[in-house]
């Protein structure tokens, strides 16, 4: 009898299992791809590209090292980039967060105009006109924001606009990376 009873519960268990799967699935965003580079903590791919604001200046991956910082991929053709720009200004100009920019597949003239008009929150803006650097980083939709550690390795990626919620998350990642690197240096 008791064996029979257990058998009766099998469909219920299967049902609950499916509810569990679908429940988790509901809260996953299928459009959000995990970053391969962040997963393996790879460094920013090697590049040699001019700066947007000063085309005579050549920027390489080494310029991004030194401190934990943000790397923001943006373009003037991207409306969400406009949306997040004010927030980036607050972070960089008021809170002193170190942000680098990649101007992705864009017209440098328009980009310079944009920075003049809406203020420039970036330490440096890399001019990636062909999109090759973006491709090497696995960029699939601007804006994207990466957290870099002091060695220039990619630790985290956010796809979409940075707002207060996202910044909260980025801040946590930056703090834990900083802590990890400090304790690493102490050893």
């Amino acid at each position: 009898m008791s064996k029979r009873k257990l058998v009766v519960f099998i469909p219920l268990l299967v049902f609950l299992l499916l509810v569990g799967f679908f429940g988790v699935g509901l809260y996953l965003d299928p459009r959000e791809l995990p970053s391969e580079l962040a997963k393996h903590q790879r460094p920013v791919p090697d590049f040699t590209l001019p700066s947007v604001t000063d085309p005579s200046r050549i920027v390489t991956q080494d310029d991004l090292k030194g401190e934990v910082s943000l790397l923001n991929v943006w373009a003037t053709w991207c409306p969400t980039c406009k949306e997040e720009h004010d927030f980036l200004n607050i972070l960089a100009l008021e809170q002193g967060v170190r942000i680098f920019g990649i101007n992705y597949k864009d017209d440098p003239v328009k980009a310079r105009e944009w920075l003049r008009r809406y203020k420039d929150p970036y330490q440096l803006v890399i001019l990636d006109e062909s999109g090759k650097l973006g491709l090497d980083m696995g960029v699939y939709g601007a804006p994207e924001t990466y957290v870099l550690d002091a060695e220039g390795r990619i630790r985290y990626r956010h796809v979409g606009a940075v707002d207060a919620n996202v910044w909260h998350k980025l801040q946590q990642v930056m703090a834990s990376v900083e802590q990890e690197q400090q304790s690493g240096e102490g050893l």
């Binding site: 791809l33 995990p34 970053s35 391969e36 997963k39 597949k105 491709l135 696995g138 699939y140």
Partner: protein, 171 residues
């Protein structure tokens, strides 16, 4: 007849190349492989299209990379690896067989096996119980033929059941 043929023609799948890129291949073999690769690589931006179908600028960039790498003489595996290191296993319409995807590749066969096993088990049981009831089918008394049923009944319930069954046979 003409109309029928015409309407049937509309049913033909039009496998038109959605994108018109002017790629000049130095070797016709590259071109075949180019199209093959473009069909199995998934566009990260517009997720239900392969990079040959998609009009997204990103897909165009990826097609260009495939072209460049083929012209450089790279193998198909190298092209696929290039994409996977940047965009992850997501870009593969045909996932690789590894410890992460074993369930995906072999799970259905395991489920099929379990299903067959259960069916065999059930049919075996049925046959067994059928032959058992066949052997014990000698008395026509309705109460004893329901012997398995009244096993868990209290004496009052058994009495009631008997009464009900007799009512049935009376009418």
């Amino acid at each position: 007849m003409k109309r029928l043929i015409l309407s049937l023609l509309f049913l033909l799948p039009l496998s038109a190349q959605a994108t018109i890129d002017a790629f000049e291949f130095s070797d016709p073999e590259y071109e075949t492989r180019f199209h093959q690769l473009n069909h199995v690589l998934r566009c990260p931006k517009c997720q239900n299209q392969n990079i040959s179908d998609s009009d997204a600028p990103l897909a165009a960039d990826l097609r260009h990379e495939v072209y460049r790498m083929l012209e450089e003489g790279r193998s198909d595996d190298q092209v696929v690896d290039f994409m996977v290191t940047r965009y992850g296993d997501f870009v593969l319409y045909r996932p690789r067989v590894n410890s992460m995807t074993w369930v995906l590749w072999y799970g259905p066969y395991v489920l099929l096996g379990i299903g067959i096993f259960v069916i065999v088990l059930i049919s075996h049981k049925r046959r067994k119980s059928a032959s058992e009831t066949h052997q014990s089918k000698s008395k026509p008394d309705p109460v004893t033929t329901t012997g398995t049923l009244d096993a868990g009944l209290s004496p009052e319930e058994a009495a009631r059941l008997k009464k009900l069954l007799q009512q049935d046979s009376d009418t």
